[in-house]
Amino acid sequence: MKILLKGGRIVDPSQGLDQAADLLLEDGKVVALAPDLAEEDARVLPCEGLIVCPGLIDLHVHFREPGEEWKETIATGSLAAVAGGFTAVACMPNTRPPNDNAEVTRYILKKAQEAGLCRVWPVACITKGQKGEQLTEFGELKEAGAVAVSDDGRPVPEAAVMRLALEYAKNFDLPVISHAEELSLSRGGHVNEGLASARLGLRGIPAQGEAIAIFREVMLAELTGSPVHIAHVSTRSGVEIIRRAKEAGLSVTAETAPHYFSLTEEATFGYHTNAKVNPPLRSEEDRRAIEEALRDGTIDAIATDHAPHSPLEKFCEFERAAFGLIGLETALPLALHLVERGIISLPRLVELLSCAPARILKLPGGSLREGSPADVTVFDPEARWVVTEEELHSKSKNSPFLGWEMRGRAVYTIVGGRVVFSRRELLS
C-alpha cells in the first residue's frame, strides 16, 4: 500500500526542512520526500495549503483503562488522539489497578491494538501501587512494553526513593518522568494560591511547591547522573529552576501543557470545574514565563495531560470535583495560536509536539527521514472551528475551551502508513 501526499508544505525540524514537497509512504515507512513525486499506484492525498509534518506525539495522556472506562477507554482516547492529529500517545499509569506490573502493561497494549488507531506507549509506575515506597519491576515492565516510568498523578514523596528509581532506571535505559509537587504545601489545595484562592475562598496550591519539587529532581539527576523529565511545568519559578539546571549542563527535560500557556487562574472564577486541574492554572506572570520557556527551549515539549472525567466527577461542588481536563483535540490549535502570535515558529511547534517527545521517550517517529515510520500528521493551519461537545471525540467533555473558536485542525492522521483519521472523508 502506497500513499502519496501531494503538494503540502513539509515541516520537519529533524532534518531542518520547511519546503513544498511531496511525501511517499510505503509499507509503513517513509520512502521518498521530494518535489513533484509521481507514483501511479499510490493513493494520493491532496495536501495543497496544508502542513505535512512528522506525526504528533503526546507524552502525557490518561486513558483511564483499565478501571474507569466510563470516563475514557483506550479506544475512545485513541480516537480523540487521531482526531487531534496525534499519531502516538504515552499513557500514564494511574489506572485502576495502576500499571505497576507487566500484566497491566500487556492489557493496555492489547486494547490499543484492538482500537487500531494511534500508537499507545504505556508508562509504568515508579513504585508499586504508586505508594512511593517499593520500586516496580522495571526490567519486566520494559520487556512487556513500558517505555518510561512515572508515578504521575502523585509525586514520589521521598527523595531517597526517587534517587533509587533514577539509579535503577539506568540498567534498562528507561526515562523517568516526575510529577513535581511538594505535597506538604499543596495538600488540601484546589486552585492556584494567589488571586484564585483569595477570590474563591479555597485553599491554594503555591507555585513555589512545584519549584521546590523540580529543584529536588534536578539535584537527584545531578547526584545519580540519570536524566529526569519533568511533567506539566506550570510556573515561572519552576521554569527558572529548569533553565538554571540546563545551563549547568544537567540532564533534565520538561514539558508543559496547552492550558498553561492558554489560560490563567481566572478560568476558575465562578467555580468552573472544567478549569480545575493539577497543577492548577496559574497567574498571568506564570503563563508568560511558560511561553518564554517554549520559545527559548527551556521547555522541550508540549504534552496535553489529557485527563477525562465524566459529569459524575465534574458536575458537583468545586472542592469535590476531580482535577483534570481533556486536551487531545485542542492542543494543536492552541499551539498554533503561539505561532500566530509570533511566540514560536511553525518548525518549533513541530519540534515541541513531535521531534522532542520522540527523543525524550526514545520512541520511533518524530521524523520524516527516509526509513522512518510512516507516522504523519497533515493539518490545515487556517481551518476555523468551534469547540463543542459534539465536535469532541473523547468520551468525556471536560474541556475549559468549550465555546472557543479555534484556528487549525488535523486533516489526515497517518499511522504506520495507514490513514487512521481523515476529516476530508468525513465531510464528503
Binding site: A198, L200, G201, L202, G270, F315, E319
Partner: protein, 307 residues
C-alpha cells in the same frame, strides 16, 4: 430602583446601589419585628428550604425567624438528619427539594462555591448562608446595616477586622462590602492567618495589631476556629488571647465612639476579654436583630411579594 439579582451568593456581585437598596429594605422591614404580633403575610405559600451542611445555630435560627415572620413555609435540613451522609449527592438532595416545591434554598456548606453550583444546577433562587472560607454575604450585610444605623454612613470609616482573616468567610465578605461602600479596611491577627497584601481583597494587612486598631471607627473580632485547620496556626489559645485578643486597653486605641462587633458565637477569654461583656461600645446583640431584618429583606427581594 430595581433589584434584579436572582441569588445572593457573594457581595462582590453587588453594586454600592444594590447594597444600599438591600439595607434600606431591611431597615423598613425591621419595624415588623417590634410589632406586638410580628407576622406579615408577604410570603404566604412560598417554601424556603434551609440546607445546613455545617453546624450552625444562630444563622439557621435567624433565617428561620425571618422566613416565619414573612409567613413562608420552611424546610429545615441539617447535615445530621440529611441523607447526604448516606451517599446522596448535594445535587440529588436539592433536586428532590425542588421537586417538592422549594422556591428558594438557603445553603450553608463547608465547601466554597457549593451554593454557586446549586444556583447553576437547579435554577432555583439561592442564598449563600456561608460557604467554606469563601463568603458569608448575609453576615456582611447585617454588619453593614448595624454600622450604618449607628454611624449614619458607611463611607470614610476605618474598619479593623482582627483574627483569622485568611480562613474567614465573614472577613472576606466584610472586606468586600465595606470597601465597596467607601470605607477603609485594616486586618490584623497571627501572620499565619493573614493573607499577603495582594490577596487581601483590598484590605490593608497589619502585622502590628495597634496599627489596625488606631483610630478605628469599627472594631470587629472574629471567632477563633481551631477546627478549621489541619494544623495549629498559632502556638496556644493563651498566646492568642495575650497577643491578639481584644481588651479594654487595646480597644482604647480605637476612636472613643468606636463600635465593637463580633459575628458570634464568642469565645470569651480568647478573642474578647470578659471585661468587654457589657461594654457600651458593643453592638453585638444589635447585629443579631439586624441579621433577621437583613434576611427578611433578601427573602422579599428574591421571592417578590412586595415589601
Amino acid at each position: 430602583m430595581e433589584f434584579f439579582h436572582r441569588h445572593i451568593l457573594d457581595i462582590s456581585a453587588f453594586t454600592p446601589e444594590d447594597i444600599s437598596y438591600i439595607l434600606n429594605t431591611a431597615e423598613n422591614l425591621k419595624e415588623i419585628l417590634s410589632r406586638p404580633i410580628p407576622k406579615v403575610p408577604t410570603l404566604r405559600g412560598k417554601l424556603v428550604a434551609h440546607l445546613f451542611f455545617e453546624p450552625s445555630t444562630r444563622t439557621r435560627l435567624s433565617f428561620e425567624r425571618a422566613a416565619k415572620t414573612l409567613s413562608a413555609d420552611v424546610f429545615n435540613l441539617t447535615a445530621r438528619m440529611s441523607s447526604v451522609e448516606k451517599g446522596e449527592t448535594l445535587l440529588d438532595t436539592v433536586l428532590n427539594l425542588k421537586a417538592m416545591g422549594a422556591d428558594l434554598f438557603v445553603i450553608r456548606h463547608p465547601m466554597a462555591g457549593a451554593p454557586h453550583f446549586i444556583a447553576r444546577a437547579t435554577e432555583t433562587r439561592v442564598i449563600n448562608a456561608g460557604d467554606g472560607f469563601h463568603a458569608h454575604p448575609t453576615q456582611a450585610l447585617l454588619d453593614m446595616l448595624t454600622v450604618r444605623e449607628k454611624k449614619g454612613t458607611l463611607s470614610g470609616l476605618k474598619v479593623a477586622i482582627i483574627g483569622d482573616i485568611r480562613h474567614s468567610r465573614v472577613a472576606h465578605s466584610n472586606i468586600c462590602g465595606f470597601r465597596k461602600m467607601g470605607s477603609e479596611v485594616f486586618v490584623s491577627g497571627p501572620a499565619t492567618m493573614l493573607p499577603p497584601e495582594r490577596e487581601a481583597l483590598g484590605a490593608r494587612v497589619c502585622y502590628r495589631l495597634e496599627e489596625a486598631l488606631k483610630d478605628a471607627d469599627v472594631v470587629m473580632a472574629l471567632r477563633v476556629q481551631k477546627e478549621r485547620h489541619g494544623r495549629e496556626l498559632f502556638p496556644s489559645l493563651r498566646e492568642y488571647a495575650r497577643e491578639f485578643g481584644l481588651n479594654a486597653q487595646k480597644l482604647a486605641l480605637a476612636r472613643e465612639d468606636c463600635l465593637l462587633m463580633h459575628p458570634g458565637p464568642i469565645n470569651w477569654g480568647v478573642e474578647l476579654h470578659p471585661e468587654l461583656e457589657n461594654d457600651p461600645r458593643s453592638v453585638i446583640l444589635e447585629q443579631v436583630t439586624n441579621g433577621v431584618a437583613v434576611r427578611m429583606a433578601l427573602l422579599v427581594l428574591l421571592l417578590g411579594g412586595g415589601a
